[in-house]
Amino acid sequence: MRSFAYSRAIDAADAVRRGSAPATKYLGGGTNLVDLMRETIERPASLVDVTQLSRDIAEQADGSLLIGAAARNTAVAEHRLVRTRYPMLARAIASGASAQIRNMATVGGNLLQRTRCTYFYDDDGSRCNKRHLGQGCDAIGGFNRMHAILGASEACVAVHPSDMCVALAASDAVVLLSGPAGERRLKLTDLHRLPDDRPDLETVLEPGELITAIELPPLPFGARSTYRKIRDRASYAFALVSVAAALEIEDGAVKDVRIALGGVAHKPWRAWRAEALLRGRPATEVAFMAAADAELADARPLKNNGFKVELARRSIAAVLGELAGEQA
C-alpha cells in the first residue's frame, strides 16, 4: 500500500473542503477501498474519513426515509421502517457480503464500491480499461461467466457488485450530494454510468463531490416487495443474477410495479421496459415472462455467461409470481 495522509471530517462542509484536494478519496468502512489500496489499484494521496458524518435514519414529514451516508449496512437492514416498508432493501442488504462486512460498510461506500471483475483486480497480469484507459479488456475474451449481459461496451463488460443498490434502484431512491459547487440531488438510477468508452468513470459524481444521504420516497406498496439473489454459493458470494421487485395488484391486474436487476450490468439495472409492459396488464405468469423477455431482448451474452439471460428471465418471472401469490 502506498503511504497516504489521513484526516477525519467533522461535518459535510469540512469533508468537502478536505475532499477537494487532488488525489483525495473519501473513506467509509474501508471494506473495498482499503483492499484496492493494498493491491495498489487505488493510490490516493490522502483519505478523508467520513464515517463521523450523519448516520441517522429518520422519517421525514412527507413520509420519505432519510438515511445518512455514514449509516452502516447492518443499521439500515435492521431498522424497523426499512424492514416493514422496504423489505426488498432489508433483504438485499442481508444477502450481501458477510455480517462482519455489513457491520463496517457504510451506505455511501456501498454505492461507490468498485467492480469485482477479476481482471480489474489483476494489476500485474491483465489488461483493463477501467484501471488503464486504452489498455484493452482481457475479460471480453477471457473467463467471463460473472460479467455483463446488458449495457456493456467494447471497452468493458464488468458488473456493479452491490446488492443494496439494486433495491435502491427499484425504490426510486434519491442520492443527496454535497460538493465544491454546492448541493444537488440525483436519482440513484442516474448515479452510475454504463461503461461506453470511459469505463474508468463509474458514476457522474464531480471531483470532490460527497454522498451525504439517501432518500427513500414513500412507496405505498413497498411492503409487498422482495429481493432474490442467485449465486454460486448459498451465502457470502456475489450475484450471478439478482432481482429486486415490488408489485401492486388490483382486481387481478398489475396496478404498479418496480423491478431492478443486479449482476447483469455496469450499474444497477432498472427494468423500465418490463415495468411499462406490465402496468395495467393481467398479473399472470405469461405476462411476467413476456415482460422479462422484453427487458432482456437487448441482452448480449459473452462466451461464458449466456446462462444469465435465461436465469434473469426466470428469476424476474419467479419473483413477480411470488409477490403475486402473496396477494392472491
Binding site: M1, S3, F4, A5, Y6, L27, G29, G30, T31, V34, D35, R38, L47, D49, T51, T74, A77, E78, R83, T84, P87, A90, R91, A94, S95, A97, S98, A99, Q100, I101, N103, M104, A234, S235, Y236
Partner: protein, 168 residues
C-alpha cells in the same frame, strides 16, 4: 489518540496504513486474531468493536480512535475460558485452529445481533420483533467465517449449545 484493547489503552499507529489486525498482532503481540486472506474473504481476523464483529484486516487502525476492541484474548484465557471456547473443545470445533479465534469472536457478535433483531438472508418474517436462532439462521449468520478443515458440524454444535437459550 488511543483505543482500548481488552480493557487496556493502546496508542494509534503513526502510519495510517497499519490495519487493526497488524496493530493487534505485530504491535500488541495479540496473535489470537489471525491473518488468513488479508482481503476480507475468510473471517479469521474477526474481532469485536464495541461488541460488534468486524474484520480487522480491512480496518485501518486510525479509524478506531476511542473505540473498545475485544479480541479472543479478551474473551477468555487458559483457566478462565469463555463458555464458547470450552464448547469448541468439547465439540471438536476445530482441527488446525487457525480460524477458531475468528469463529468464536464472530459467534459472540452474532448472538448479540440476533437478540437485537437484525435480520439475516434466511429470516422469513422481517416484521417479527424476535428472531429464533435456528440451525439455518446460525449457519447463514456464520457464513463469513470459513474453516478449511471443515469442522463446521462441531462449530455449529458448540455455538448452539453455548447460546442455547437463543437456539430453537
Amino acid at each position: 489518540m488511543s483505543m482500548t484493547v481488552n480493557g487496556a489503552a493502546v496508542s494509534l499507529p503513526e502510519d495510517a496504513r497499519v490495519s487493526l489486525l497488524d496493530l493487534l498482532r505485530e504491535h500488541q503481540r495479540l496473535t489470537g486474531a489471525k491473518k488468513g486472506c488479508n482481503q476480507g474473504a475468510c473471517g479469521a481476523c474477526t474481532v469485536l468493536v464495541d461488541g460488534e464483529r468486524i474484520l480487522s484486516c480491512l480496518a485501518l487502525a486510525v479509524q478506531y480512535e476511542g473505540r473498545s476492541i475485544t479480541t479472543i484474548e479478551g474473551l477468555g484465557n487458559p483457566g478462565s475460558l469463555h463458555p464458547l471456547q470450552q464448547a469448541f473443545i468439547e465439540h471438536d470445533g476445530f482441527q488446525c485452529g487457525y480460524c477458531t479465534s475468528g469463529q468464536i469472536c464472530s459467534a459472540v457478535g452474532m448472538v448479540a445481533e440476533v437478540r437485537r433483531g437484525v435480520p439475516s438472508h434466511v429470516t422469513a418474517d422481517l416484521t417479527a420483533d424476535e428472531i429464533a436462532l435456528d440451525m439455518d439462521e446460525l449457519r447463514e449468520r456464520m457464513s463469513g467465517n470459513l474453516c478449511r478443515c471443515g469442522a463446521y458440524n462441531g462449530i455449529v454444535a458448540a455455538i448452539a449449545e453455548t447460546f442455547g437459550e437463543a437456539v430453537e
